[in-house]
């Protein structure tokens, strides 16, 4: 398959929240990326509720209902409701289907009764843990695909957080081994998506559902999460930033296989993906603090089309259930963005979001639209191979960080980054050579099965 060789946007200034070059319309007529930002609420079931299908249905009925009700109560025009599968919903496709059917019924009731326009995204759980099963050929693999088929009947949008390369990544991330991370994200992850996504797209098309997109959550977010905040000592922030850039080589594959967006919220690489593809993207930032902390809470809104909370466990708060509370917070977040668009102040508003975080952290810096675009450009200019474009993304990311005098580093970060860059620069030209090098270097890693990636 030919890899993407051009940018959808000829320059970063063209990118704006609420606007995608190729908007997507769901079967319920909700337009995403067509000129306004829409909230994406993600409730998560309470422990224990997964015991039986009955209790889990009841849990989602409550959580979904609270979100929809709150939207009506405060006047939110549109909503995307995402259910991230818990193990049981994918493990038994029947569960996934029943919950998707229920959610759709609820959406339609509210549309009918109030005129609320909404869509439902089903995110299947990727149970194929590489060090436990052959990700291309195992019972879990077929279960994942069955779950897609079951949910596609009802869901407006389909997604997954695929985990190809994870076994190598986990081994390397805690060893500061960027070569291995590049192999995991750029080569293994990409090859897995190239195998998985055509099947998802086919299922989606068959049922008239939308193949949304994927994320490198399993790798880049692990890095971001472990790097943590300013007191974190688990990982260098520069490694997390480079891992983010490398995530593009990976997530981009889903769209090259026919995914049409909206991309998955937790893919912090989405500003880069949007710059390349022009497809609508879901993003998350400050209002997903309920799910995890980040150093880029505002800048992530700069070019988003959907604005999400990632995940919040269903619980009571003084102001209602968490599902209602976060629907309200997201609703007002997007209301101010949409107002900016309506008033013609979107540039100024975007500038505030970006400048809030641009120099707060490395992650925020490289995800600022201009830098995101530049990394994307490096990706499409180096489309000889998955490896080549991922390496280019990492190198460009590093160069951008080193080039801006307003971006400060602790001495540890400075050393680390220098180290990663020299290591990357020493890597072979050709993908085959790199693969040989890695197959040898990581042969001993527990559970690594080259055949599972067609190697």
């Amino acid at each position: 398959m030919k890899l993407t060789d051009s940018m959808a946007y000829s320059n970063p200034q063209e990118m704006m929240f609420g606007f995608a070059q190729k908007p997507v319309t769901t079967r319920r007529g909700l337009v995403i990326g067509g000129g306004s930002v829409i909230a994406e609420i993600v409730p998560h079931p309470r422990p224990g509720s997964e015991k039986t299908l009955h209790t889990l249905l009841r849990e989602f009925e409550r959580a979904n209902g609270d979100a929809l009700e709150r939207c009506v109560d405060i006047g939110t025009p549109n909503l995307v409701l995402e259910n991230e599968h818990v193990f049981q919903m994918t493990d038994d496709a029947h569960w996934g289907r029943e919950i998707a059917a229920l959610s759709i019924r609820q959406l339609d009731e509210f549309a009918e009764q109030y005129g609320l326009k909404a869509a439902y995204r089903a995110t299947i759980a990727d149970l194929r843990k590489p060090d436990m099963v052959n990700i291309r050929d195992s019972e879990r693999t077929s279960k994942v695909l069955e779950a897609f088929d079951a949910c596609a009947e009802y869901a407006d949008i389909l997604s997954i957080e695929s985990i190809g390369g994870k076994e190598i990544f986990d081994h390397c991330i805690i060893r500061n081994d960027i070569t291995g991370m590049l192999f995991a994200q750029g080569v293994l992850g990409s090859r897995d998506m190239a195998w998985l996504w055509p099947q998802i797209v086919e299922i989606a098309d068959k049922h008239g559902s939308i193949a949304g997109g994927d994320t490198d959550c399993s790798q880049a977010n692990t890095a971001m999460f472990m790097a943590g905040g300013f007191t974190g000592k688990a990982l260098s922030h520069s490694l997390a930033a480079l891992s983010r850039a490398m995530a593009v080589g990976n997530s981009l594959v889903a769209y090259e296989c026919g995914a049409s967006g909206p991309g998955k919220d937790c893919a912090y690489e989405n500003p880069i993906i949007k710059a390349i593809t022009g497809l609508p993207m879901s993003m998350e930032g400050k209002s997903c603090a309920c799910a995890h902390s980040s150093l880029c809470g505002n800048v992530m809104a700069a070019v988003c089309d959907l604005w999400s909370n990632e995940a919040v466990e269903y619980h009571r708060m003084f102001g209602g259930s968490t599902s209602a509370v976060f629907s309200e917070i997201l609703s007002y977040d997007v209301a101010s963005m949409n107002t900016a668009i309506q008033l013609g102040y979107q540039r100024e508003y975007q500038a505030c979001m970006v400048a809030s975080d641009r120099y707060r952290s490395l992650q925020g810096f490289i995800l600022s639209p201009d830098n995101a675009w530049a990394i994307g450009k490096a990706v499409v200019d180096n489309n000889q191979s998955y490896y080549a474009r991922t390496l280019a993304a990492a190198l460009t990311c590093g160069e951008l960080m080193l080039a801006d005098p307003q971006l400060y580093f602790t001495s540890y970060e400075k050393e680390s980054l220098a180290g990663y860059m020299t290591e990357l620069e020493k890597l072979p030209q050709e993908e085959e050579d790199f693969i040989d090098l890695c197959l040898h270097k990581y042969a001993q890693v527990k559970g690594f099965l080259p055949q599972a990636y067609g190697l």
Partner: protein, 250 residues
Amino acid sequence: MKKPPHNSPIFTRYDLNVEDRHHQGARKVSSDLLLQRVADSLVTGDEDETCMAVSQALNAHKPLEIINESLIPGMQEVGRLWDLGNYFLPQVILSSDAMIAGITLCEEEMGHSMERKAKVVTHTAEGDIHDIGMQIVNALLRAGGFDVISLGADVPIEEVVDACRIHRPVMLTGTALMTTTMTAFPRIAMRLKESGLDIPFVCGGGALSEEFVTSFELGIWGSDAAQAASMAEDALSGLDWRQLRAKWNG
């Protein structure tokens, strides 16, 4: 300051969308003009007018007739409009005030107070002064014809239990708006059980959840004050707390 164009996708006024979806007036309750006038005054919630109408009606009708053929059916109309979503809370409260005033007049005429359906004890949890919810419950229960013994706000557990021992109500209600005060309810329920008083204990208030209230015996969760009267009717008709919970919760 700039204003957005009209009908921009910033918000949707759903209240306008659903407006006069179900518009309906009050139905006629009596062919007798005097009795209908009493009912009308209730529907508009005009206490003074109700008193005048009732005194007039008393010239032609027996007090009990007025109660049964205009005051009570009139109030039922109000309840219906409220259930339909046509009436807002204050309209119901005012009507119930008016009805009570009217009934008082009739009772004076009868020389004895009319038969109430049954006693209900209401209170707001110990340490909690959030009692508006309870006040609404009181009004709606009275409107429903129940004899309401309200212990007020911040009521010690013992006082609640004693009141139940003395009055033997068909139902007990509790309101709590603070998670730090709602803990009184399971303790009340336990003490009631100990005293052999299996009284349905309907608990409501912002702090409570169905999970919490159904986690202790006797407890039934009330999400809306409007349910109180119907719940009391059920209790009166003999449903025990388990049956009430089965019907109203879950």
